[in-house]
């Protein structure tokens, strides 16, 4: 069974989701108390944010609870709900009502997030959301960078903030191929050894390749500089002894390298990453290059096992 459910690999996150569904605030707050790693915290917030309909309960909690957590989770849910309203379609296919609902959700989230990051400027989960609202509300490339820099001053190299910047710097959101590639390299080279910062260059390559025609795409993955950067990224992250293999984002990282090596045509190199990601590696980027995320992942994994 191949899944793309963020909570599935981690029992405590399944527990967290149950607490959201049962509207059990103390249990939610208790789960987050133990999450000291910024990437784990952001990942867990994403699990909460993906619970459809949770905005009502979280909105009440945000009104009532004094700390920033309830407001952060509430706005994260609003952002997710906004993106659900927009659907995953590209901008020209989104109709006016969907756009209005999308923007309305993001504005409501942004207003809460402005408050939260003003009170708690080191709240990396809230800043990561603000990078996402910035994109959806089209507040600008420099403004996105400012938000990222503000966050980085307090908490450098938050995976999802970097992933958000990769998106922002893509041509589809007003950036360019050069910009997104440069940002990927910046993260790769400035991030600490064994961190998730190396994933930004991998995602940049996914984005650049995705927007190429079929033939150009094949040529792209044959380029030695692309291969070298993927290698460097793997060496600095998943293959490095300091890599946190127990972190929630470890699955994301292995899924990325499984896909990258598959696209590079190096199934043997992909295999350990398929093994590490197991049944949970069919992330969103698989959908870029295969008709279906799950079946694409499954068949690539099966071929890698034979390689």
């Amino acid at each position: 069974m191949t899944d793309i459910d963020l909570a599935e690999p981690f029992p405590e996150l399944r527990e967290l989701r149950r607490a959201v569904l049962q509207q059990d605030w103390p249990a939610i707050a208790g789960q987050f108390e133990g999450l000291t790693d910024p990437d784990d915290h952001e990942y867990a917030a994403r699990v909460v944010a993906d619970v459809k309909g949770a905005e009502e309960f979280l909105g009440r909690a945000a009104q009532r609870e004094p700390g920033p957590l309830a407001r952060t989770l509430y706005s994260a849910r609003l952002v997710a709900a906004g993106w659900e309203a927009r659907t995953a379609l590209r901008a020209q296919y989104v109709n006016r009502a969907q756009f209005a609902a999308f923007h309305d959700h993001l504005r409501r989230a942004e207003r809460v997030l402005i408050e939260v990051t003003a009170e708690d400027p080191a709240n990396s989960t809230a800043w990561a959301q603000r990078i996402k609202t910035n994109r959806g509300l089209e507040l600008g490339q420099n403004e996105a960078r400012r938000r990222y820099d503000r966050l980085s001053r307090h908490v450098p190299h938050v995976y999802n903030a970097q992933a958000g910047m990769v998106q922002q710097f893509c041509p589809k959101w007003g950036g360019s191929v050069e910009k997104v590639h440069a940002f990927g390299l910046e993260c790769l080279r400035s991030g600490p050894e064994g961190s998730l910062a190396a994933l930004a260059i991998v995602e940049a390559h996914f984005e650049i390749a995705f927007h190429l025609e079929e033939g150009a795409r094949t040529v792209y993955w044959r380029r030695t500089d692309v291969r070298e950067e993927i290698e460097e990224a793997a060496n600095r992250s998943v293959r490095h002894p300091a890599f946190r293999s127990g972190g929630y984002r470890a699955v994301t990282a292995h899924s990325h390298f499984a896909l990258a090596y598959t696209l590079l045509g190096d199934r043997a190199a992909a295999r350990p990453h398929f093994d590490a990601a197991g049944d949970h590696g069919a992330g969103v980027f698989w959908g870029y290059f295969f008709f279906d995320e799950r079946s694409g992942y499954r068949s690539a994994r099966a071929k890698a096992a034979k390689a």
Binding site: I114, N134, L137, L139, G140, N142, E143, R146, R147, R153
Partner: protein, 568 residues
Amino acid sequence: MTIQRSEVDGVPALFVEHAGPMIAGLTFRVGQADETLAGRGITHLAEHLVLHGHGLTDYHYNGSTGAIVTTFHMQGGEEDIVAFLNGVCAALQALPLDRLETERQVLRAEENGRRGGAAEALALWRYGARTYGLPAYDELGLPRITRDDLQRWVQTWFTRQNAALWVAGERIPAALKLVLPEGVRRPVPAPSSALRGTPAYFVGEGTHVAYDGIVRRGRAASAFAGVLERELYRGLRQEDGNSYNVAASYDPRGDGQATIAAFADSVPDRHDAVLGGFIDVLAKMRAGRIEAADLDAVKAQAEDAMRGPMVEVARLPGQAADLLVGAALESLDEIRAELRALTVADLHPVALEMLGTGLLQTPRGRDAEWAGFEPAPLWSERPIEGQRFRSRQDGKISVVVGPHGVGLDQEGRPPVAIPFDQCAVALAFPDGGRQLIGFDSLTIRLEPTVFPVPPQVLAQVDAALAPVTVPQPPRDPGQIPTGKPLPKAARPAGDRTGLLVGGVIALVLSVVALCCSGLWSWVVADNSDPANDVPLDATTLGINIVGYALAVGLAVVGVVLLRRRNRK
């Protein structure tokens, strides 16, 4: 060396002992905020006429017209000061009205060199074309102001009861004779508003961000402005590197309230991030995260500014203005004591007050609804009812002229309305063009070359607006609209759904017509059942020809629509 209070000829006086050349001034409680837009410039014009009698001397004298006070001041020997101030009073009693035309020209020339600052746009949007919004406007009333208007203005405002004298020197000169007309002390105007709610924003034309808010006047508010400036400097310039110039200021309005204004420019192409950084600084203030070190620095700066021999002298004009608006006059010792007692806890309420009343000017192309600001009104709440005249240039625009006002109707947009009793000024050009500005600052250009308004209707408008009409010099012919239709705006790319839908419908109908015609042909041709046979005659043939023609026609229309859709 403290400020001492006394009285000269019934005029309250403030005196400071001072060893250098004597400095003195006469301040009146009148300024631009007391004017109307149709009379805008009258105070400045009166000031110029009064000073005209004083030819060039070796000494420095001047006049200044502000929002709520007008001052005549001079530095020099005691005799010169006496001659100057006595002369100002004499000129106020008998204005040199023969100089009116010349001074009018001088002021219009001065006006041309004037450029509005960032604060002026905020005042215009906040207050509209009245009270504290008036300083933001040009001296539009100049061509209209008559000798009688000036006489009345001077007699109303430049009176003994509405004046204050201030002197820095060895003594108040005994020879001073302040002969002024009798009148009353005039309170400052109650502020008007062009906003429907706050916090509000409007989109500026530049790349900078400007902001202001209204707070209770006081030491905490002035210190907060200093703290805000430091926060903006650190955040936007030092840390983000997106701004070069940042500033914040504190200005008492005269009615117990004060304006805190802030400004940040943008290094090229970074204005999106300047706006974001600015909003985050405001949010930090709202959260009460006010740095104690900033307040300490502001306090130290303020204390430094209160040292030195000229401090009391420099305070005199402001103290005279305070005296005229009925504000408490504070000694430097009182100010120092208040300043020392200030804590960051005193500043947070000021921040909240400022934010609650805030008005933000965003850089061009950027809104601020995402940050919780509502758009400042660009439209009126109700339309004007009356006769409509469609624009010759753009069929979607009409002016509406009714018995109670003039309106603008733009298809798909809310109305703009200027009721006659809400019209601040009507600028009348010799070519027949009229520009109306409402109290809320909304503008309507009534151009007879564009809108076919008959002369008798225009005459009705002119009659209704006569009290606020200001005749204008002829316009450059290039500025007069020609009334020729504007080139059709290109349809925005992407909005081609209509073509797609139309094309598909036409093609479907074409197929339907083809099927029906085919069926009809078969019915006519089929002779298998003589009982129900349809004969081939002119009618049945005609029906068939029309049917096929319809099918072909619809097919062509459909293809044309779809092809046009694909055109870039």
